[in-house]
Amino acid sequence: MSSIADIEKEITEDFELFDDWEGKYEYLIGLGKDLPLIDEKFKTDEYIVRGCQSRVWLHASHDGNRVFYTADSDAIITKGLVALMIKVLNGQKAEDIAKAELGFIDKIGLKEHLSPTRSNGLVSMVKQMKLYALALIKTN
């Protein structure tokens, strides 16, 4: 499968097609709509990543080496961003996930969504994704 860097590059190229915010956000919303839904049984408090305004549910599993994520959010824009993150990190090696810098979010002009003061749950989700990968590395 493609590396994290390759997928980031692909996404960045996709977003270069848009010269205004509307295009970007329509694309993002589309991604959100397409996101394979998380198994309903994981949409519980145990899997919640609480933002102040939108909520994210995240489930992770692994094959001893690579990590697999499914997720959902009650807000569609957040869900689009969640979809982007999953696109980039799903099925990657734990080591690569742990050290991924995810600079593409900045490049595609959505940096604001990953600001630590954003209350959309996304920052916490990315943190969760990495923590999971780190935990896997430790147990190996």
Binding site: W21, E22, Y25, C52, Q53, S54, A75, I76, T78
Partner: protein, 419 residues
């Protein structure tokens, strides 16, 4: 600098040039995401007119000094302005004495002062504190903390679907254990104006104290604490064109006299020794430490500005804007208003179809329109309506028809993008 407020006679409504008033607010010239800013988040905090900003600069450039007890001229000038501001505020809410006006950090701080000072003295095990289902967290959590400590009970006046208190339920909940009723004057999430005068009358007939959370009322209505006859009243300066970090706690002198101090420190003492400390007179007993001098002084400037327009003109104007907004939103498919009380003020809270408020807020922001989305610090109220939050447009007198046009455009566009 320090004029009396008594002489201000407000102009007639028709003589007011609302367009010109807009120019008093420098931030309204700003662009956000390449669009002129539309600011509809006034219930969170208001913008500040240039004369308030100038008064701050003047204070720091000309007579900044620590107040009270200072012999030198700067300190004396600062103290005079500080106490003159207290007097302006006293007249603004028609308190009977300046001793009844305590400077605080904001409404939250005022309510905590009440809960810590009054609560710890007067509340006993088994007593009841009554709030309503539409309270802001600031008028819930301090009472929860107090009730837990004192093993007292928190009772909640329920509301109907429109977002109005249910009067019969209120009466039913009153008991001889009820010590205090603390209710919001105007709901920040719904806009409901509560019948606080009637509540106070019922309460006083039973010797129950009443505190009113006036955070959303003071910027929009003419408050008269003597006419209301409330025992305590709280509001925030930053929501009424004043600086951040300012608020007022009003209390009837006889209660304030009986209440123990809240915070200890400088200013609030008469004499200190390690064996025995005696407390200062009102209002200083409740003002420990160096106050927010800039904020307190300049709040009076903000109040004079509001009075130069006239609170009743402000209400009329805001009602007009709310009415227009409501009428135009009603025409949209799938709109649901949260808060449709008969008596309503400057707030329009709504949802469209099942669009998440956060999403709509994001799209509106891209179009330069600032609204608030979320639970508005009233989670139990959101739970009542079984919603995660609302989109809230909250108006001030400096908003105008163009803001409403832009909001309508924005809502339409977000519906189109998000449905």
């Amino acid at each position: 600098m320090v004029n009396s407020t008594k002489e201000i006679i407000s102009p007639s409504y028709t003589s007011i040039d609302w367009k010109k008033i807009r120019e008093d607010f420098p931030i309204l010239k700003r662009e956000v995401n390449n669009q002129p800013l539309v600011y509809l988040d006034n219930a969170a905090t208001s913008q500040k007119p240039q004369l308030v900003i100038n008064a701050i600069a003047h204070y720091y450039s000309y007579y900044n000094a620590n107040v009270h007890r200072g012999v030198h001229t700067l300190s004396q000038e600062g103290t005079n302005a500080f106490e003159a501001s207290r007097n302006t505020i006293k007249e603004f809410i028609n308190a009977s004495k300046t001793e009844e006006v305590i400077f605080t950090k904001g409404t939250t701080n005022s309510i905590n002062l009440l809960a810590y000072s009054w609560g710890r003295k007067f509340v006993k095990e088994g007593d009841e504190i009554m709030i309503s289902a539409m309270e802001h967290h600031s008028n819930i959590v301090p009472w929860q903390i107090l009730c837990e400590e004192k093993k007292a009970l928190l009772k909640v006046i329920p509301i109907n679907e429109k977002g109005e208190l249910i009067w019969e339920e209120f009466l039913r909940l009153l008991s001889d254990k009820t010590k205090l009723i603390s209710v919001v004057h105007i709901s920040n999430a719904l806009g409901t104006i509560n019948p606080v005068k009637a509540i106070i009358e019922e309460a006083h007939r039973r010797n129950i104290w009443v505190h009113i959370d006036g955070a959303q009322a003071a910027p929009h209505l003419q408050i008269d604490v003597q006419e209301l006859d409330c025992d305590f009243y709280s509001f925030s300066g930053h929501k009424m064109c004043g600086p951040t970090g300012t608020g007022i706690f009003y209390g009837k002198e006889k209660w304030l006299e009986e209440m123990p101090p809240f915070e200890g420190g400088g200013e609030m003492i008469k004499t200190v020794s390690f064996e025995k400390t005696t407390y200062n007179d009102l209002p200083f007993k409740f003002e420990a430490g160096t106050p927010h001098i800039e904020g307190a002084i300049v709040l009076a400037e903000a109040i004079r500005y509001l009075q130069s327009i006239g609170l009743s003109n402000i209400s009329t104007r805001e009602n007009e804007l709310v009415h227009q907004t409501t009428t135009r939103l009603k025409e949209m498919d799938g709109i649901r208003f949260i808060g449709t009380a008969i008596h309503k003020s400057s707030v329009v809270s709504f949802l469209v179809n099942n669009i998440h408020p956060y999403d709509m807020g994001m799209i509106l922001d891209k179009m330069g329109i600032a609204v608030r989305t979320g639970h508005h610090c009233t989670q139990p109220l959101m739970d009542f309506y079984r919603i995660p939050g609302t989109v809230r447009a909250s108006f001030s007198f400096y908003n105008n028809e163009n803001d409403i046009d832009r909001l309508m455009e924005g809502v339409k566009k977000s519906i189109q993008m998000l449905s």
